[in-house]
Symmetry: D2
């Protein structure tokens, strides 16, 4: 069993926080932080960096938003429900925007953008499932 | 003139990003990061820490959300408008929740909570003004 | 192959950045961010929170330091070598301190602290191997 | 009196944490986060972005390192002294490297780089004074 799963299962207030949606959301956010941070750095190192500026910019916002969304999910006690919902929505918004921009460059053969677009879509989906699992 | 103002005024793409709302939003977020981080640490050092757990928790989320909101505001180029709106809403939500919880302890004489409640309210207001100034 | 590995392998400037040490360091930092964030929240939810204050505090610093260390490792181009070395050292220092404190509570039956102590030790080791692999 | 000063003065464990060095270090880190985040975005928006890639990269690392250094300074209780020293050193290292790179572009008329170089030097100085004020 992964350390993340063991942490969530031994948390003393698991109510609503140790389901598959929560764990997968935390995992998807962490992966998207990594792919977006690396994609921004890789785009900066490409010869055609001028064409990649929008991609770099969205990568930066996406990495930062995914990080804070993952932190909120990792702290299930005493949560503010409206703030969590808004934060998940911000994460869905930026992941979709970043995935679309990365995909444009992936379609022209930029491999790191292809992998990053996949991670962004997976993160948007995981956040959407998490938002759907929140008690209304 | 502050360094922040000079940075925003010399940015090559100032459209909609160097107004008073943007600068005040960035300043309010930075201050709220500081007061929430210190308030969490101060609450942890109080003898009645058990009564302050909800305050500590909201402080942690508020500091992290204010930081990323300030970063998004500090990067005006190539922004994704829906993500920015959602992020500002998350910041308004958490600042209000954190202000309310801090105020409860301020009313019982906890001075750092009083200062932090003020900073949270100021940040919520600055983010609301910023959201109102965004082109629809 | 994991997305992280594919990102590092398709980065256009892989020199010295796509080895096993780099990838394992990024992975260990990301895991330690998660376990420390959850451990802080879990400790705050325990009845004996007063005895866990030092653990919570070290968890907070450790999560934040691991995050920035992981970001530096995820951006291999144009790195400042002295800053990277100092940052890896800060990560080793805080992971060891956090592991020691968590272990004290693990020895008294606190399960989330046991898992977190393991993650902190693994992260300190991964950062030490990474520092050792840097060209002098 | 600023909110930051009031927070530090009402913290219940002020020992060694509410001096001028600590407050100025927190303030300098927060300002450097802002100038580096804006400078990276401004450089990405310049027509000669290819010549600014190293500047953008150092700005990203500098903003992130300054943020975590400011957080550590904002949480004076139960600190790990070796980790704090290493983190201050990492901040000094990256601020100096970022200032040097920004200054190169400032010398060629890039105004945002000039302001950012000033903020980076001020932050390196504040961190060095703080490190000097730590009890050995």
């Amino acid at each position: 069993m992964s350390r993340l799963r063991r942490m969530l299962e031994t948390h003393p207030e698991p109510a609503g926080s140790n389901g598959d949606e929560a764990r997968q959301c935390i995992e998807a956010c962490a992966e998207c932080v990594q792919t977006c941070a690396i994609c921004a750095d890789a785009c900066l190192a490409e010869a055609n960096v001028r064409e990649l500026v929008a991609c770099i910019r969205l990568n930066l916002d996406c990495a930062d938003i995914c990080h804070v969304t993952g932190l909120l999910m990792a702290r299930p006690s005493h949560r503010d429900a409206p703030a969590l919902r808004s934060q998940l929505q911000a994460c869905i918004d930026i992941c979709r925007a970043c995935a679309d921009e990365c995909q444009r460059h992936a379609d022209m053969g930029m491999e790191h953008c292809a992998v990053c677009a996949d991670a962004c879509r997976a993160c948007a989906d995981a956040c959407a499932r998490m938002a759907g699992a929140l008690v209304p």
